[in-house]
Symmetry: C2
Subunit: 348 residues, 2 copies
DNA sequence: CTGAAAGCGCTTACAG
DNA sequence: CTGAAAGCGCTTACAG
């Protein structure tokens, strides 16, 4: 018999939440043993472990994250650092990260920032150090900033980088292979018979934009189609910049028969210009986007686009931070794939 | 002279972050005095306060939130509880909340949930109690759930409810006045000359849907227009449900000349059906949405819609939780307003 | 207006 | 495999 008077039902703790001391006392072990069980130490006899775990369940005991954090000198918080205007993308990464964090002791703290601001790295440092974060998820475009990662390394903060292409060792990367998604678009348009193509790219400073451009151009070249520089127009991943790029590409008589856009917002801009010019999609112009956002299926005709499994991406990034730091593993990859709708057909 | 050897420059603490003990020692006061300054106690002489604050700035001292939280028995975390599929809305509330939290000691922890699940209230309780949250922001539709609020009250958790209409005392509400936004739409359409109107509403279980419907119907009535029940079609705030509702309203020869939709997604559904039927917007059919999402300006013609200042809403909700519990204040209100684009004109 | 003691609920470092 | 002591960095309760 443990040295406590247990009646029927779970022990009453006068309405207050149980602490490690209550569990230790009720189980008749030291608090250090309870602590070992909490931290999954193998140095506990299995019958002791089972007895204590049963009691914890009955009492509904959950360790206090602040007390644990204070003793560990590290919190049970995962930070998500981002500078991305696309709401759906952000929310999907959050959902994915929370999928991975569910049933763990960790919670997600969000930290949007402005990577164009000169002191944003310092802002992230303050955030990480004040909260003693367990780790951070870095989303494009901040994930591409080596200075940010160097700072995190310097202060000993773990991170998981989501990026279009691998930027460092696999233990810290979730790679979305944007190059492959773009190549799939090139293959699809080529198979439809298009030879006279164009691309509206995102800002050259974004890895995603570069990867999508190079993936598209490279795959076309492999199929014998050379995309002239005049057919590659850089825009800003926004609707308005897509409009401006489309105006450049579609004026004059020498028009492309298909345009691949680095994201759906810019594709919506191309739609707008085509509509204004009386160019019918897909009869006179094929258009492909990237993201497969909800916008893609709201446009008319529904836009063919490259889908990214963003929620999976977030899940992998968070899962990576929960693993022991030493754990070796293969590169975390999320593969894009083309979702074919009604915005493309063979050239006129 | 304080009892410590200060050389030039900030005192060196061997690379480790300063603690309250360091500050107390360097300033020559007790840690309790430092603590009083941290907690803005008036019981500190102003010269003492200034000396200590200067030192804290020099050393870059920031109190440890976990240590404070452990002693306070309450964390420095604000939870955001939501069950809302609209990514832009969620992200905007988050930005707003973070605006209010900036330069405070608080951080934002996100907690999406599924309010249709029978144990979601229990899930929120676990979240709140484990993390000892300082307070939570409740976003529609969970903000409308009285059972949730009762639970939070029972466990002594502060909350701020965002809702279309006031549901309780002003100290816990941010009201978005959806009724007024819908009434503005009714006035606008009436002024354009429409008499034969229809509405696609959100689910009747949503307060926002009810308020928008009643606001629209009531304002029309005040202007002498009675909306028959057959002209009010309930849908699910989704694109697909908007399509189905539009099909019901637009088939047959007896069509309305204008449709007000409870959100932009459903308005996009109406656009789709109108396009399919060869009905031109706005020449043959006027359409108005609600939300003023980015979708509204991507559609063709650009959609007239009711804008909500969602970021302000989030800011107000978070600010409310930072105030002393006793602070009396007026009802926090966010006013909607109509953004006129190109989707309406006088009836044919 | 200021301070010394005890405590918040955990873990580390050490000993057995 | 288990435990007693000290400590993480703060605050509360009490005293002056």
């Amino acid at each position: 018999m443990p040295p406590n008077r247990r009646e029927d039902g779970p022990p009453d703790l006068a309405g207050k939440a149980a602490t490690i001391n209550d569990i230790a006392r009720l189980a008749g072990v030291s608090k250090k043993t309870v602590s070992r069980i909490l931290n999954r130490s193998p140095l506990v006899r299995s019958d002791t472990r089972e007895k204590v775990e049963k009691l914890m369940r009955e009492v509904g005991y959950v360790p206090d994250p602040m007390a644990r954090g204070l003793a560990f000198r590290r919190s049970f918080l995962i930070g998500m650092i981002y500078d991305n205007p696309t709401a759906q993308y952000i929310v999907d990464i959050q959902y994915g990260a929370l999928d991975a964090l569910r049933d763990s002791d960790f919670e997600l703290v969000v930290h949007p920032c402005d990577s164009r601001s000169p002191d944003y790295v310092a802002g992230v440092r303050r955030f990480v150090q004040q909260q003693k974060l367990h780790g951070v998820i870095l989303v494009p475009r901040v994930s591409e900033d080596q200075a940010l990662c160097d700072m995190l390394d310097a202060i000993g903060c773990r991170y998981a980088r989501v990026a279009a292409v691998s930027l460092e060792g696999p233990e810290r990367m979730v790679v979305t292979h944007d190059r492959d998604g773009a190549a799939e678009v090139a293959d699809y348009l080529q198979r439809l018979g298009h030879r006279d193509l164009a691309m509206v790219t995102g800002p050259a400073a974004y890895r995603s934009a570069m990867e999508r451009t190079e993936g598209f151009v490279g795959a076309l070249r492999r199929r014998g189609i050379e995309l002239p520089a005049s057919r590659i127009v850089e825009a800003g991943y926004t609707f308005e910049s897509g409009v401006a790029a489309a105006e450049r590409l579609l004026r004059g008589r020498n028009r492309p028969t298909a345009i691949f856009c680095g994201n759906d917002e810019m594709a919506a801009g191309v739609y707008r210009v085509a509509l204004r010019m009386g160019l019918r999609i897909p009869e006179q112009l094929s258009v492909v986007g990237y993201d497969d956002s909800t916008l893609a299926s709201r446009l008319w005709p529904p836009l063919t686009s490259v889908r990214r499994d963003t929620r999976d991406t977030g899940r992998m990034a968070a899962a990576m931070l929960l693993q022991p730091e030493s754990a070796a593993r293969p590169l975390a990859s999320v593969r894009p794939h083309l979702v074919i709708r009604d915005s493309c057909q063979p050239p006129p």
